[in-house]
């Protein structure tokens, strides 16, 4: 960044002065760069050590971490094993709840993204009564605590039969539908905010020429807006996916502890509560629950970052 700025050639006497200055500067820069590197590495290490400890414990022989710290496993003999993972994946509630997590997360990501894209398109490119006020109200709702909505919504869900005990036509557990609807409502303000900000800065002339060519709003939306907004859409999808996948509160409220619909977070919480003599499963279970979000995170990290920036830093 700073290298690119071209320095004008200096007169000879000045040059020797700057040379000497640079030489002394280089020493102090060397010292401070060592300090800088130590600080950065130390902070990064402090950040990963907690996860590292759990990772190592999850590969240790059953119960070994009950008697000695994870760091002792780093010295020979290395007795690492996959037993905990085998146990967790083979015989526990974790496998069905893995499935439930997908069952909850996929629709609860797709529905709000699509609905938000429709709305954001209208907010950015259509004129209608109260447009700015409605948009402002939506932004304000970003701050509303979810807890405020639980009691009336639960009452409503039970009245409509949308609790996890019921089965809807097609064999779908009603609890799933309730969670999808809830996550859609909770996710929409952020989703609309992010997408509308992105749609609004798309080039105007593109739309005008498309309209002159006789393209209707549906064509413009699917052929122009969506393809141009892939970064924002991708980041929103990742954001919502991680949020729903990692959510505990909404799942607890709307599906409770019912094993048939419980996602990974709920099952894992139950495992935390039932430590007993099976604590070794917990380490592996935690990592199993992290696999999907970590894959999503590492593969799509670039989009994810670009997406948050779209909403918060003005270029």
């Amino acid at each position: 960044m700073s290298v690119a700025t071209a320095a004008p050639p200096a007169a000879p006497p000045v040059r020797t002065a700057t040379k000497r200055l640079r030489w002394s500067e280089r020493i102090s820069a060397g010292v401070s760069s060592a300090g800088l590197n130590v600080a950065v590495v130390a902070l990064t290490l402090a950040w990963i050590v907690p996860t590292l400890g759990l990772l190592i414990n999850s590969f240790r022989q059953g119960g070994a971490f009950n008697t000695s710290g994870w760091w002792t496993a780093l010295a020979p003999p290395f007795n690492f094993t996959l037993d905990s993972y085998r146990a967790v994946l083979g015989a526990s509630d974790l496998a069905p709840s893995f499935f439930n997590s997908f069952m909850i997360t996929i629709p609860a990501t797709l529905i709000p993204t699509a609905i938000a894209a429709f709305a954001a398109y209208a907010f950015a490119w259509m004129k209608f009564w109260g447009r700015n006020w409605i948009f402002l109200a939506l932004v304000g709702l970003l701050a509303v605590p979810l807890q405020l909505t639980f009691i009336p919504l639960l009452t409503l869900a039970v009245k409509l039969g949308l609790n996890s005990g019921n089965t809807l036509p097609g064999g779908l557990n009603a609890g799933f539908l309730a969670v999808w609807i809830a996550h859609t409502g909770y996710g929409l303000p952020f989703a609309i905010y992010l997408l509308a900000n992105f749609f609004r800065v798309l080039p105007t002339d593109l739309f005008e020429s498309a309209e002159i060519d006789g393209a209707g709003p549906v064509t413009v939306f699917f052929r122009l807006v969506l393809p141009l907004s892939v970064p924002a859409l991708a980041s929103l999808i990742i954001f919502q996916f991680l949020w729903v996948w990692n959510d505990l509160l909404v799942a607890l409220i709307y599906v409770g502890g019912t094993p048939e619909v419980a996602p990974l977070t709920v099952t894992l919480t139950n495992l935390v509560g039932s430590l007993g003599q099976h604590r070794e499963y917990l380490t592996a279970a935690a990592f199993v629950s992290m696999i999907v979000p970590l894959i999503v995170f590492f593969t799509l990290q670039r989009y994810f970052v670009r997406g948050i920036l779209a909403g918060s830093v003005k270029g």
Binding site: G53, S92, P112, F118, A119, L136, T269
Partner: protein, 345 residues
């Protein structure tokens, strides 16, 4: 580690019924994955056909509502309607049929547990927000100057992808306590005992440390988010500006205080308000780590307890309204910021 969760303890011994899983759930999942997008696209195509049937003159005034309609419907149903309902409920008794005025609030605000929760929410508000911003700024600033910036950022950002529940599992192994006559297994006590030859501390139970221990988990999780945004703002500062300040003889600290910080202020405010909202809504960490015991309760957790363990809608509603009142200043502030940005467009 505390075993204090109010949930049914289920040991992982249940055999997986793969038969039902594959035969019933998998088709449902496929149906949902394909059906939901189809329904959404179908909605917009179908309504467009209907709108086109209308007289040409009224089309532009009807069409926008077709596009924003579903969003308004969902937000109205899931956020606005229950919000109003909860506010109304907080003035009625627990069965919802007798108006009691401010009694629920009086009861809640004189309850010792609620007062502790309120105090802890203030701790969260101040410490969580402050530490996330401090670490976020520090890391953005330091990482900007090393060659392995990307790796550092990825590692710091990674907790974003981890659920609070998994975070709690991770951190239980950091805070784990064992008596001083046996080897420590928790990271923090391991350092304390093996390197500093101190006495192990019960980080989760000791009321001197436990709130801070819990807040630190939240800070660990959110710093990456703050760092990424702050780092982008930092990189947006023109290099010539910093160069000019250096030529003028300003040292790095002065440049940071006088040039960088003021230019980054708008972004810091955005991140800060987001963190304040997170702090007020905090639930998962406390719920999983201590279930609100040992004086670590916070409002959102207490509200959940009132709702489920005590089954008291009136008290829970009153707590939710208190939470809302705490958010209102942030909300107004956010709206004003947002309008200011809009006007500059």
């Amino acid at each position: 580690m505390d075993g204090s969760l109010g949930l049914i303890a289920r040991l992982p011994a249940l055999q997986v019924d793969w038969g039902t899983l594959v035969s019933v759930n998998l088709p449902t999942l496929l149906f949902v994955v394909l059906g939901v997008p189809l329904a959404l696209v179908g909605y917009i195509l179908g309504t467009d056909v209907l709108v086109r049937r209308l007289p040409k003159r009224s089309q532009p005034s009807v069409r926008p509502w077709v596009w924003v309609g579903p969003a308004i419907l969902f937000v109205g149903l899931i956020l606005v309607y229950p919000m109003v309902g909860t506010i109304v409920r907080s003035f009625f008794d627990r069965h919802g049929d007798k108006f009691v005025g401010l009694d629920n609030f009086r009861l809640m605000l004189t309850d010792n547990g609620v007062l502790i929760a309120l105090r802890n929410n203030v701790y969260w508000l101040v410490l969580y927000t402050g530490l996330v911003l401090t670490f976020g700024l520090l890391l953005a600033f330091l990482a900007d100057r090393v060659r392995y910036e990307k790796t550092v950022k990825t590692l710091i950002f990674m907790p974003m992808a981890i659920s609070f529940v998994a975070m709690a599992v991770i951190w239980q192994f950091v805070y784990y306590y064992r008596p001083s006559d046996v080897p420590q297994t928790g990271t923090l006590n391991g350092i304390l005992v093996n390197i500093f030859h101190g006495q192990p501390i019960t980080w989760i139970q000791d009321t001197r440390f436990n709130n801070f221990a819990l807040i630190l988990i939240g800070v660990w999780g959110a710093t990456g988010f703050a760092m990424v945004i702050l780092s982008a703002a930092l990189k947006g500062i023109p290099a010539e500006l910093l160069e000019a300040a250096r030529v003028d003889g300003a040292n790095e600290l002065t440049i940071f205080r006088r040039v960088i910080l003021p230019l980054m202020m708008p972004t810091i405010v955005v991140v800060g308000t987001t963190m304040v909202i997170f702090a007020l809504k905090a639930f998962d960490v406390v719920y999983v780590m201590t279930a609100g015991n040992y004086n670590t309760d916070i409002l959102a957790r207490r509200m959940y307890a009132e709702l489920y363990s005590a089954g008291n809608n009136a008290n829970a509603s009153a707590l939710a309204v208190i939470l809302l009142l705490a958010v209102v200043p942030v909300l107004i502030f956010n709206l004003r910021q947002f309008r200011a940005v809009e006007e500059r467009r």
